[in-house]
Structure formats: structure tokens, C-alpha cells
């Protein structure tokens, strides 16, 4: 019994999640001590609400990285699909519910994702190159064909969805309030579905398998090309979902406002212990890492760190985080030392 305890602890200590969790906790406590504001109900709800969009993006990025790829096109993809959707709905003067926005945006997202998936899965081109390229293409379409300008009003259904809340938290001391948006349900549902998919379907295990060794996956009988293609379609849809939620919550559609998010999102995923080389990582770690980034982005201000220092802070976190996982790999590969026998033994 005792040994099994030991091995369990050993196994846990080799994973990244506990460390991320500890860093997260330390940061929260630090902010709480300095400001007394962190664990207030309104701040927690604010953070949860700020996590929705980055969280969805991170789930998509996580899936791609697990499969051994990388996607830098999701902000452009999300921007394009949600911008086109909003513009179209405004043009036809749509007065109905938000569902149509989701249907259209997710369809466009699937199509754009299929574009990535075709080149990466079927033509076997490197994911970084393809998504760098498609990112430019998506931006180009937005600026060229759609002549994108900021849309200051959005269709009524989207507006209503963006302002509806599950509950409102009120800080009894300061009187500040925070809303928990209905969109948080979408995030939780996606999270649960992706968790189940990764754990209980051969498709999900195939994504891990391909990330571990594509050749082995092929020989074992996984449909490598189809899996990758489907994966990018799926990721395109998740990104578009995030895009719609973002526009609804901001109550306006800004064509470039999401661009550039990819680096912090990928950083969060990697901080959470997902191996950039593919095959290794958990959804829990991915969310913890993203949460860490979100808190740094939103709460440093509470302890009086000027916003200009934010990127320095995030940068250091990334270096420490990735350094820690590199160190773990090194520790695992370290030359096993051998027992030197005493002279008398011979």
C-alpha cells in the first residue's frame, strides 16, 4: 500500500498540472494580500467571464498541438467568420434569435477549418506554414472582399445574447457587480464534449496517437489524414464559436480586435503542460495555463503593476513554464547511474 502511495505521488510530481496550479494559487494569494480584492465574488465572476473566449480558443489550440500540429490562424479564422456573419445578418436586417448567427458562423468556421485541414491532412504540408498562410488569406478576404470596418451595432439577437446573464455577483463591500454571461454555458459544454471525445472515442485517442507517432498511427490503422482533416474542421468551428461569443459580449464587431491573440493562447496551453512536440498534455492543464494568463492579463492591475509590464510578466511565465517542462524531460532522460561494485565483490 505504502509503495503505491509513493508511486502515485511520484507520478503526479512528474506532471505539469500541479505546478501550474501552485503557481496559480500563489499568484491569487499574492493579489489577495496586496489588494484584498481577488477573492471577492465580483472579481471571480469577472475572471470566469474573461476566461470564456480565450478558453475556447485554447481548447482548439490544445487539440491541434496534441495532434503534433500548430495553428496560428484561429484568431483570423474567428474574425472572418464572425465578421461575415454579423455583416450578413445586418444586411438582411435580421431580427430573430442568436441561433442563426451561430449556425452561419460555425458553418463558415467549418469551411475555413476544412481549408487548413485539406492542406495539412491530405497534402501533408507543415501546419505552421499552412496556418501562417491561411491566416493571411483570411485577413485578406476580410479586408479586401468584405471591406471590413468596425460594425458598431450588431443584430438584436446577438445583442440580447451578449447582455443576458446567468446571475449577477455583487461585492457587498465595494458594491461592484459582475455578470456571469450565458455564453459561459457554451464554454462548459464544449469543454465537457472535448474531454469526453479525447478520453472515450477512438478519434480522440487517435489525435494523441498521431501526435506521438504519425507512422505508428498509420500502421495501427488510424485514418491519419481523415482524423487531421476532421480535427481542423472542428477547431475552425470552436474558434468561430468563440468569435461569435466575443462579438456578442463586446456588443460590436471589430475586424482586427482578436488578431494577435494566438501567441498568448498557445503560451497558456504550453504553460499548462501540453508538449509543443505533440502527443502529451491534458485538458485540465490547458485550462489552468489559460487561466493563469487570463489572471495575469486582468488582475495585475489590482496589485498596482502597470499594464505596460504585463507582457514582461507573461513572457517570464512562459520562459519559466516551458523551462520547467524541458527540465522534466531532461530529468526523465537522464543517464541512469550504475552501481559500482566494491573491489571485494569480484
Amino acid at each position: 500500500m505504502q509503495t503505491s502511495w509513493k508511486t502515485t505521488i511520484q507520478k503526479i510530481s512528474r506532471r505539469n498540472e500541479p505546478y501550474v496550479f501552485l503557481v496559480l494559487l500563489a499568484l491569487c494569494i499574492l493579489i489577495e494580500i496586496r489588494s484584498g480584492q481577488f477573492f471577492s465574488s465580483n472579481n471571480l465572476v469577472d475572471i470566469a467571464s474573461a476566461l470564456i473566449v480565450p478558453g475556447l480558443f485554447a481548447i482548439g489550440a490544445f487539440l491541434v498541438i496534441i495532434s503534433g500540429g500548430i495553428d496560428v490562424s484561429f484568431p483570423a479564422l474567428a474574425s472572418l467568420s464572425v465578421y461575415a456573419t454579423t455583416k450578413f445578418l445586418l444586411d438582411i436586417n435580421y431580427q430573430g434569435g442568436v441561433w442563426l448567427a451561430f449556425v452561419i458562423a460555425l458553418s463558415i468556421g467549418a469551411l475555413l477549418g476544412a481549408f487548413n485541414g485539406l492542406f495539412i491532412g491530405y497534402f501533408k504540408l507543415p501546419a505552421l506554414i499552412v496556418t501562417l498562410g491561411s491566416s493571411s488569406v483570411f485577413k485578406g478576404i476580410m479586408q479586401g472582399a468584405l471591406n471590413s470596418k468596425q460594425l458598431t451595432t450588431i443584430p438584436v439577437g446577438m445583442r440580447a445574447f451578449g447582455t443576458s446573464s446567468l446571475f449577477i455577483a455583487k461585492n457587498p463591500v465595494s458594491g461592484l457587480t459582475a455578470r456571469m454571461p450565458v455564453a459561459s454555458i457554451a464554454f462548459v459544454i464544449v469543454l465537457i464534449l472535448v474531454y469526453l471525445m479525447m478520453r472515450y472515442t477512438m478519434f480522440g485517442r487517435g489525435i494523441y496517437g498521431i501526435g506521438g507517432s504519425e507512422v505508428s498511427a498509420h500502421r495501427a490503422g488510424f485514418g491519419v489524414r481523415k482524423t487531421k482533416f476532421t480535427l481542423y474542421v472542428m477547431v475552425g468551428m470552436i474558434a468561430s464559436l468563440a468569435g461569435v461569443i466575443r462579438v456578442c459580449m463586446m456588443q460590436q464587431a471589430h475586424p482586427t480586435n482578436m488578431l494577435g491573440m494566438e501567441l498568448n493562447i498557445i503560451a497558456g496551453v504550453v504553460l499548462g503542460g501540453t508538449a509543443i512536440t505533440g502527443g502529451r498534455g491534458t485538458l485540465l492543464g490547458c485550462i489552468l495555463g489559460t487561466l493563469l494568463i487570463v489572471i495575469v492579463e486582468n488582475s495585475l492591475i489590482l496589485i498596482g503593476v502597470p499594464t505596460s509590464w504585463k507582457s514582461v510578466f507573461i513572457g517570464s511565465l512562459i520562459i519559466i513554464g516551458t523551462g520547467a517542462s524541458a527540465f522534466q524531460v531532461m530529468r526523465m532522460n537522464r543517464v541512469k547511474s550504475i552501481k559500482i561494485r566494491s573491489k571485494e565483490a569480484f
Binding site: Y208, G209, S216, A220, I338, I340, R341
Partner: protein
């Protein structure tokens, strides 16, 4: 006489410009252990791929388990009982042993959902078949090469397997692990499963196989009963050349030692190692994989600096703390894994040769003297007879033996006094191996001092004047090679 399990007849296969197989006929019976041998590029892998359906032959026919095939598809091959274990074992290093074992059969059953209980059951049954004990929840990446191989074998046995094909299964195994593997192969044989394995290693072919087939340049040169084969015929069939193994005789040993080690050691690796090395001498260091022999080699070149003891070079006390100091004292090191440590595979052969003497070839501010460069390259290509149409070709176009010669050339260009070679002929075919041995012996007679670290006992016996046997971090005996034999060395090693 038992029926053939597999008979492939008159197989031809060509790739653009290369005739990989010419009229090859191959048969194997149930429960037969059959060794397929041949130098690099002789067509072994191509033959395996035709049998397993990866390639379709240009012409020829195949019969397996009583059924005729024009060409077999990979799925038909698996369904009719052919399993291939590739050199990389086709494992997922990032997943658990359980998943690695269960995936193939789950996918073959076209399952869409994962049932972890069922997977555990499949995995448990799979390893039980060969009495293999392993933690099902361990990540495969953390296992040894031998354990990964066991996983591949257990996985292959899950299907109604009649023939298992293994491509170079022993290359990365220790002696003991090879022993285990052979025991398992013998057990499979008892169950009537035929085994086809690829190997260049003479002793393994003799130890385990019933029949052999040898290919050379895509043609069948010999096949038959292993009992009728001997070492001389084997190398002749492989290469088409006759070799007379020449036992090394040190001709001009310097009176003073060039290198003296005194009680050197590294915590956790080896301890109390003392020996003298003279110019003109070849010392062999042998031992099992975890005897400390590799660490000793690395310490001589400063990659793993010693923490106790001392070095003397030409009688003077020196410190070797990194490869730069080792090179400054005219010590060179040929690594065990030449591919990852010794060569820039994408760069040209020429650049690989001159990389270590690049300082000497520059005229001014880092600008290369091209005339000098060309001369130097031509000299080494000729001296070591590196077989290449053009030295500007990428290094990876060469065979293992030729790559090894380049690593050698790189060091010799520095006019060294001492050269440490770690496994100089691992993965090199017989012909090149013989040539490399000849080169090493000549180098010694020209006054170089050499240390060969190797577990290939015939190699050590043939090429060394003295042999140090290591065991558990210590040198347990210092033998005169002329008076030693394999049995004697083994008894010290084990």
C-alpha cells in the same frame, strides 16, 4: 515434409532506376526460423514489404497458407496472419502500454468508442501470451528498447498470426536482451509460428535460425540450411568478396606511453581505472552495456569529465575537462551513434570531412582557401576509399560503412595521437566492417594510439593488442589479445 507456409516465386521489383529485386524466390514453413541477410541496399526490406503487401511486385507470384495471390494487400496480409515488426516497433511513446497493445485490435474491430476496461483486458491477455511482465499504465516512452520490442511482439500475436517478420530486431539490444528475445522466438516456433528475421550478425544467424536466405544487389545468392553455412561462406555470399581476417599485430609500439590514466573514476559510472596506452597499440575495452565502458570512453574525450584520478599525456599531467581540451591534447573520439553525434547528415560529404580542420584551411578572417579544401577532401576520399560519385553530395546518401569512414576522415585530418572509437562498426555491413578494421590496423602501425570500445568480441579479438574487460564500473581484467578467446572474455564480463 511439411507444406510451405509461404512461397514467393520469381519476384521482381524495380523503383525508378533501381532494380531492387531480381527473380527472387523465397519459402518458409510453419515453425521455421528463417534469417534474411544481405548488405545494405540488397533488397531485404523491399522483399519484406512485398510479402506484407506494402509494395506490389512487378512480377512474380505469392502463395500464403494455401492461397495464391497475384499481389497481397496489407489488409489481406494481416488477415491471413502476416505481422511485421518494424525497426521502430511502431509504438506510441506518449501513450500507455495498455493503449499501445490494444489499439490495433480495437481498430481492426472498427470500434468508435473507448472502453478502458476492455482495453485493459486485451492488453493483459496480450502480454500473458509471452509471459511478459510490465506495468500496463507506464508510458511506453519510458521503457527500454527491449521492452518496446516485447510490446510489438505481444501486439503481433493478438491476431491469428502465422508468420512474424522482424526487421533487424537485435540492433539496439544488449546481449542479455538478445538472449530473451531468442527464447521468445523459440517459444513461438514451438507454437508453429514461422519467424523471418533480418540480421547481418553472423553469430545470431548461427545461433537461432534453421534456414537462411542471402540477397546481394537484389538477387538471391544463396539459401539453405544454416547448419551448412560457415563464417567464411556467409561473408562471401553477402559481399561477393573473399576476406581473410587479419589478426592485428602491433608492429611498432612506442617505448613510452602516450596516455596514462591513474585511478580515474566518475561517481555512479566507473571507478579506479588505470591503464597505459602506447603509440602503435590498439586497446580494446569491452563489457556489458551497463559496465561503464561508454562512460569511460566519454571521459577520455572530456564529454564526461572525471571526478577522481588523473591523466598523463606524454608523461605530463593534464586535465581533460571538455572535448576542446581533449582535441588540444590530440585526442579524437568516434561516437557510438555516428548519425546523431558525429555527422551533419544534410551537409555535403566534403564539408563533413573538413569541418574539424576548418581553422587550418582558412586564409584570412574566416575565408576558406578553396584550393586547399579541394585537395584535402580529395586526399581523404582516396585514402579511405569512400564510395561516392561526388564529394559534394549530402552525407545521408552514403551507406553506414561509408558514413563511418567520413567520421574517421574528419578526425584523421587533425593529425591526432590518440583516437577513441566507440562501437566503430555498429550497423555497418560486413564488407565495410572489414575495410574499417584494415584502416584501423594500418593507422596503428603508422603510429596512432587507438582505443576501441565494443561488445563485438570477434572485433575486439581481431583488432586489439590488449583487452580490458569491464564489469559493474571496474576493469576486471587486462588481457593479452593473442592469448584470449571469446569464452574467456565472456566469463569475465558476465
Amino acid at each position: 515434409m511439411a507444406e510451405n507456409l509461404l512461397k514467393a516465386e520469381g519476384i521482381y521489383k524495380s523503383f525508378v532506376g533501381v532494380q531492387a529485386l531480381k527473380n527472387v524466390t523465397f519459402e518458409i514453413k510453419p515453425g521455421e526460423i528463417h534469417c534474411l541477410a544481405g548488405e545494405n541496399g540488397s533488397g531485404k526490406s523491399t522483399l519484406i514489404k512485398i510479402i506484407s503487401g506494402v509494395y506490389a511486385p512487378d512480377s512474380g507470384s505469392m502463395e500464403f497458407a494455401g492461397k495464391k495471390y497475384e499481389k497481397i494487400t496489407p489488409i489481406e496480409a494481416i488477415k491471413s496472419g502476416i505481422q511485421v515488426i518494424y525497426q521502430d516497433f511502431s509504438v506510441f511513446p506518449n501513450l500507455t502500454v495498455m493503449e499501445n497493445l490494444a489499439f490495433n485490435s480495437e481498430l481492426a474491430d472498427r470500434r468508435k468508442f473507448v472502453n478502458w476496461k476492455r482495453m485493459r483486458k486485451i492488453a493483459t491477455e496480450a502480454i500473458a501470451k509471452i509471459d511478459f511482465k510490465v506495468d500496463l499504465d507506464a508510458l511506453v516512452g519510458s521503457l527500454t528498447v527491449a521492452e518496446k520490442q516485447m510490446i510489438a511482439i505481444s501486439r503481433a500475436l493478438m491476431f491469428n498470426t502465422k508468420l512474424i517478420i522482424m526487421d533487424e530486431p537485435t540492433t539496439a539490444l544488449t546481449k542479455k536482451e538478445v538472449g530473451n528475445l531468442f527464447n521468445i522466438i523459440l517459444k513461438l516456433k514451438e507454437r508453429g509460428i514461422a519467424i523471418l528475421f533480418v540480421s547481418h550478425k553472423l553469430n545470431e544467424v548461427f545461433e537461432i535460425s534453421d534456414f537462411f536466405t542471402i540477397l546481394r544487389s537484389g538477387e538471391l545468392v544463396a539459401s539453405g540450411n544454416t547448419a551448412d553455412l560457415d563464417a567464411k561462406k556467409f561473408s562471401y555470399f553477402m559481399t561477393g568478396r573473399e576476406f581473410t581476417a587479419k589478426r592485428f599485430e602491433a608492429k611498432n609500439i612506442s617505448s613510452e606511453p602516450i596516455l596514462e590514466t591513474k585511478n580515474i573514476g566518475i561517481e555512479g559510472s566507473f571507478q579506479d581505472v588505470s591503464f597505459d596506452l602506447h603509440k602503435g597499440e590498439i586497446i580494446g575495452i569491452t563489457g556489458l552495456l551497463d559496465s561503464g565502458r561508454t562512460e569511460l570512453a566519454l571521459s577520455l574525450f572530456g564529454i564526461l569529465p572525471i571526478d577522481t584520478g588523473s591523466f598523463k599525456i606524454n608523461g605530463k599531467q593534464v586535465k581533460i575537462t571538455n572535448p576542446q581540451t581533449a582535441v588540444a591534447h590530440k585526442i579524437g573520439y568516434l561516437p557510438e551513434d555516428r548519425l546523431s553525434e558525429g555527422l551533419f547528415l544534410n551537409q555535403s560529404i566534403a564539408d563533413n570531412i573538413i569541418i574539424s580542420e576548418i581553422d587550418r584551411l582558412t586564409v584570412f578572417a574566416g575565408v576558406l582557401d578553396t584550393k586547399k579544401r579541394t585537395d584535402e577532401i580529395a586526399r581523404w576520399v582516396k585514402e579511405l576509399s569512400i564510395a561516392t560519385p561526388n564529394p559534394e553530395n549530402a552525407c545521408q546518401t552514403l551507406s553506414g560503412g561509408n558514413q563511418q569512414r567520413i567520421v574517421l576522415a574528419k578526425w584523421l585530418a587533425l593529425n591526432l595521437d590518440i583516437l577513441v572509437l566507440n562501437g566503430p562498426t555498429v550497423g555497418v555491413d560486413i564488407g565495410s566492417k572489414h575495410d574499417i578494421h584494415e584502416i584501423l590496423q594500418n593507422l596503428a602501425n603508422e603510429g596512432l594510439a587507438l582505443i576501441i570500445i565494443s561488445d563485438d568480441l570477434p572485433e575486439v579479438l581481431e583488432n586489439c593488442s590488449r583487452i580490458l574487460v569491464m564489469k559493474a564500473g571496474r576493469v576486471v581484467s587486462d588481457l593479452d589479445a593473442a592469448k584470449a578467446d571469446e569464452q574467456m572474455i565472456l566469463s569475465y564480463m558476465m
